[in-house]
Structure formats: C-alpha cells, structure tokens
Symmetry: C2
Subunit: 152 residues, 2 copies
DNA sequence: TTTTCTGCAAACGATTTGCATACAC
DNA sequence: GTGTATGCAAATCGTTTGCAGAAAA
C-alpha cells in the first residue's frame, strides 16, 4: 500500500472531474514526489523546473498547484514568508498528521509526526458542532541550532 | 486582573523600545479592543477607521499592525484568503490558546477554547529539542450552518 | 531639537487573468 | 473535432518603501 500519491492517482482524479492529464501536471506532481518533506513555493517549483531544463510557464505552475490542491493531492500552507507553500498529502487522510515547527529566528521549518489531535478533534466536534475534515498545526519557537545563540 | 491589553500596556511597551505613543497607534489598538473575537485585516481596520471619520493612512495602519505584533499585543495569522489578519492577544501567554475553526464552504472563522496542547508541546520539546514559544492551530471543515447544504 | 512617525505616491512581489494558440481526449 | 490547458504579457492586489513634512519626547 503506497503511503503517498502516484501518477496513476493523478490520472484517476483528473478523469473524475473531466480534467486532462497533461505533461505539465505530471511534471509538477513529480517534483513533489522527488522532494519529500520540503515545502515548495510556486517559485521553488518553477526554479527546479528551470534547472531540469523542463521549464513550464509560471502561470501554469500556479494553476497546477491549485488544481492539485483541489484534488487533495497537495496541501497548501503558509509559513508567513509571503508566499504559499505546498507539500504532498498522504493518501490516507488520517495519516497525514504531522505538525510544523517554525523557527522564528532562522525560519527553518521542520516536521513533527503526531496523531494526538484525534481526541481533540472529537472533543471539538462534540462541543461545537463543527465537522472537522482536516487540520494544520504550527508551533513557533527556536530550533536546536538557534537556541544557543538566543541566550539574551 | 485584566485579561487583555490596555492602552497603558501599549504606552509601556512602546517606551521600553524607544518608540513613541501616537494617536494613530492608540486608535489602531482601540479598534481591536472594540472588536473582540474578530480577525481584522489591514483593509478591515482601514475601513473601520474611515467609517469612524478618523482615517489613518493605509501605510500607517500596516506599520502599526506590524509594530503591535512585534510588541506581542496583536497576533498575526493567515486564513488563506490572501491577506494577513490580526487579533488581540491575551496578556497571559499561557491563556491565549484558542483554535480556529475555518469553514471551507462559507469561509467563516470561529474560535474554540482549549489548552489540551500543553502536554503535546512538552512532548514535542522533549522529543525534538525544539523550544516552543507559541502555537497556532487551524481546523478545516464545515460549520453547523453549512453541514446541512453539504449532503452530497 | 532630535528622533521617530505619518501620509502620500511609487515600487514591489506574489498571484491571477485575458486571450490566442496548442493539445488531450 | 471539441473543450480544456498552456504560455505569454498585462492586470491585480496586498504589502512595503522613499521621502518630505509633522509630531512626540
């Protein structure tokens, strides 16, 4: 059982919505499969494509990122650096629960695997009547490396 | 004991950093005190000021919002609607832990009070060595009102 | 009076859009 | 063939910045 999306998943999800499987969309997805654990912006993707000598119009990159997000293949997120960033979702919607640790000094973003929020989600649904489909958690602080230089 | 910031806190924090107490900064803070539980953007604030006939240059609004955030009085956040939004922090850094429930259908953002993440934070610090200062949690799903119309 | 602020207008950078062409189905 | 996607350039929109005048300390 694959833990992440494949090109075949893309083809299938595109078909369901009468969208077309194009080389550009495949390439954009491939970039994310080739860069696990990274949080790529549209410019990042565009730059990687340029390096690969398989350039795609920036507007198409933006359109592909939005489409892949709509299809649930990518997850869109903001880390406060002025642009949207994306990463591949896990296929199982219950497994893609990792949190982001954002260092407010150096800006580095790392991940932390966890599923402790399951209980919390249930609790929130019960108390608020809100039907939760997904969540995003960001922790702000100082990464190991920056803690040394912080002692003020 | 006040649960939120006052004008006097602003004066004090500004002094500590040799910044000046200006009418504009007071007015911007006052807007937030007058609109508890709302998540105002720079444009929102600017619009409210216009309605109040106490207009302030938009650039100044942006500068005030950034300053107030730096002072820890406001909290900056993104809900994916293309602009930064702000709300007043609680004074006690341990009490300002409410989560945001974002309806992906109508876009409404509501709050949910909770402090269940304390344990989680400790756990993360132990396992990752990351020193956590703050966190933000967003839940995406359907609000009560939208659940009725979702049944697909 | 010295330094920091404000307001305006211009600059910016990320993202979106219109449109003619190219391509997937 | 038909409808959707691409690429380009122009437009948009939130936000930042330079600078001269205004105001706080």
């Amino acid at each position: 059982m694959p833990t992440t999306f494949t090109m075949e998943d893309l083809r299938q999800k595109l078909q369901e919505r009468q969208h077309k499987m194009t080389p550009q969309r495949q390439i954009v997805l491939q970039i994310f499969l080739d860069h696990p654990g990274e949080h790529l912006s549209a410019e990042d993707v565009h730059g990687i494509l340029r390096d690969n000598h398989s350039e795609i119009g920036l507007a198409t990159v933006y359109r592909s990122l939005e489409l892949l997000s709509d299809l649930g293949i990518l997850q869109k997120m903001e880390f406060g650096d002025g642009c949207s960033r994306y990463e591949v979702n896990a296929i199982d919607p219950d497994t893609h629960h990792h949190h982001h640790l954002i260092c407010t000094k150096c800006g580095k973003v790392t991940e932390f695997e966890d599923d402790l929020l399951e209980n919390l989600e249930q609790d929130i649904e019960n108390k608020s009547g809100f039907r939760i489909m997904d969540h995003q958690v960001k922790f702000f602080g100082y990464c190991k490396e920056c803690q040394d230089s912080v002692e003020d």
